[in-house]
Symmetry: C2
Subunit: 330 residues, 2 copies
């Protein structure tokens, strides 16, 4: 039996979340719905212009790890914080959720990463990320026992932004595959796909990655097509399993010739889409590592995503194990 | 015309909010529903035991100031933070809400105050406050122009915990009354009332305070009676106006021989009662400083309190001016 169900690897980020109107995004040159990379000066400028905010641990794969643990799965995490107050918050929260997280924190600068997330009235989030300490994540941070000991490794496409994290990923994937484990990734963001299209396709085609998570924008960006069906046909050939989310339309899972269409969970009020994709992946991978069929994996993803978008912040406050049982998916 | 509608004075605190079960409170000796004062060592211990949390600016009077500003009122605030990351968060959030806040921050230790707030499944919050930099608030922090220039000054009974804040309050009240302004306070917490009963009664009977905010537990503690009606009869004699909240039963406002019974707002889901009393005071004082009748003041209080208890965190994310208009109270 593996030591962990899922090992997640990502940029370790604390979210600073505020609401804004559409004009604010335009006035400040923020690409709506995207992850905008910013430097320290722009971070200071945007913070001055930002409304009252709340802080919550985030980071795409960090949210997924927290979700796995909340479902009752055994999760581990690699990610780089600094020894500062935000680093302490990030570390506290992921440990408190029961995730094994032992990456050595950075001493001194740069500080722990933060993402200023602006939520518009339609619930869409636009992220502005200062990567800070994340730029120091490298292959020396790969804990071989966790890489070899997790049933599935899951990492973010976002990790292609910092300089050496991709080396950590390749090394982790080697350990994982050598131990007969599986490797999965999320394409993260359509602009991120645009920056690293060739490398992401290579990760899939070289079978470095077995399972792909993406949304419809990301797979269309990946294959440079405006047709969802065409993109889906292509991704079906490029990787063993692909789970593609489509916002309120639910998701589609493809596995060879098989296709599973999953409905979105019905929600009362869309508050903040932050974490939707991360929690979908958490639900899916929890089901997957428990040997559930792909349809149920998708339903668990929908359940978790549906909960997180009805609140402010990227990690649902509910106990997902309990929620899954209530929904008849336990 | 006054320069400000409401000047709020309080302990400047960042909230660290997590959920817990009833057993956690008992196991850790936390008095449910109360504000428990803790030292730095206990703060560290409780944080280690605390589940995944979110951070949000708080502090009772700080929440009220933010509420006043959200209603479109002109608010000012006195409170002491340190020059550290939590102090930066507190200052950012209150400024971003449009509150005039210029109290000189402390350089060095102690750090900015934080309150670990545990929310039980019934929505009740139990606070554990490390006062940090708040212990340095003193009369030297009173800005005479704001004290004399605000239609109403509002302060927390909690300010009797740090050593010299009460001197700041007495000085502010002198400036305010000399300028023909009014002074109000909240009794804050029934245990706080128990600590400072004689002084709080003296503030009322000496007419240092014109308007009292309290909940039913606090006025019963103040008059050491188990009878709400008896406590209400007493407070009617001791101050000009008293607004007493009664959780889901709404509130009662007494003013001489007049009594106004106010209903609570209907809510969908009770999530977290943090900020309920603070936001009631914000709604009431916003109405009061705009010359509205006491019944409407109470309805505005109910409206704001009803919104804040349906979310995690002590300051509602909605624009309260807009909400008041929607509710026909604009």
């Amino acid at each position: 039996m593996p030591d962990y169900d899922v090992l997640c690897i990502g940029n370790a980020i604390v979210d600073i979340i505020a609401q804004c109107d559409e004009a604010f995004l335009a006035d400040n040159g923020i690409i709506k719905g995207a992850m905008n990379l910013i430097d320290a000066d722009r971070a200071e400028l945007l913070y001055r212009r930002m409304g009252p905010a709340v802080e919550a641990s985030g980071g795409s794969a960090g949210n997924t790890a927290a979700g796995i643990a909340s479902f009752g799965g055994r999760a581990a995490y690699f990610g780089k914080v600094s020894r500062d107050h935000l680093g302490e918050i990030f570390t506290h929260d992921i440990h408190a959720q029961g995730v094994a997280f032992d990456t050595r924190p950075l001493t001194g600068t740069p500080p722990t990463a933060r993402s200023m997330i602006f939520v518009t009235p339609d619930g869409e989030r636009s992220m502005n990320t200062y990567l800070g300490a994340c730029v120091e994540l490298g292959p020396e941070d790969v804990e071989a026992d966790k890489a070899a000991g997790a049933a599935v490794t899951y990492f973010e496409g976002y990790l292609w932004d910092p300089p050496r994290a991709k080396e950590a990923i390749r090394l982790t994937a080697q350990h994982a595959h050598a131990a007969g484990r599986e490797v999965s990734m999320t394409l993260s963001d359509s602009f991120c796909v645009d920056r690293y299209r060739a490398e992401f396709l290579d990760l899939m085609r070289s079978r470095t990655v077995d399972i792909i998570f993406a949304n419809s924008h990301e797979i269309k960006s990946l294959y440079q097509t405006s047709s969802f069906d065409e993109a889906l046909a292509q991704i079906r050939k490029d990787c063993r399993i692909a789970a593609v989310t489509r916002s309120e339309k639910g998701s589609v899972i493809v596995n060879g010739d098989d296709t599973f269409v999953i409905e979105a969970t019905r929600i009362n009020e869309l508050v903040d889409t932050t974490g939707a994709g991360d929690l979908y992946a958490a639900g899916f991978l929890h089901g997957y590592t428990k040997g559930r069929d792909l349809k149920t994996c998708g339903d668990l993803g929908s359940l978790a995503a549906g909960l997180v978008i009805q609140q402010i912040g990227p990690r649902p406050r509910q106990n997902l194990k309990h929620e899954a049982e209530q929904a008849g998916l336990g």
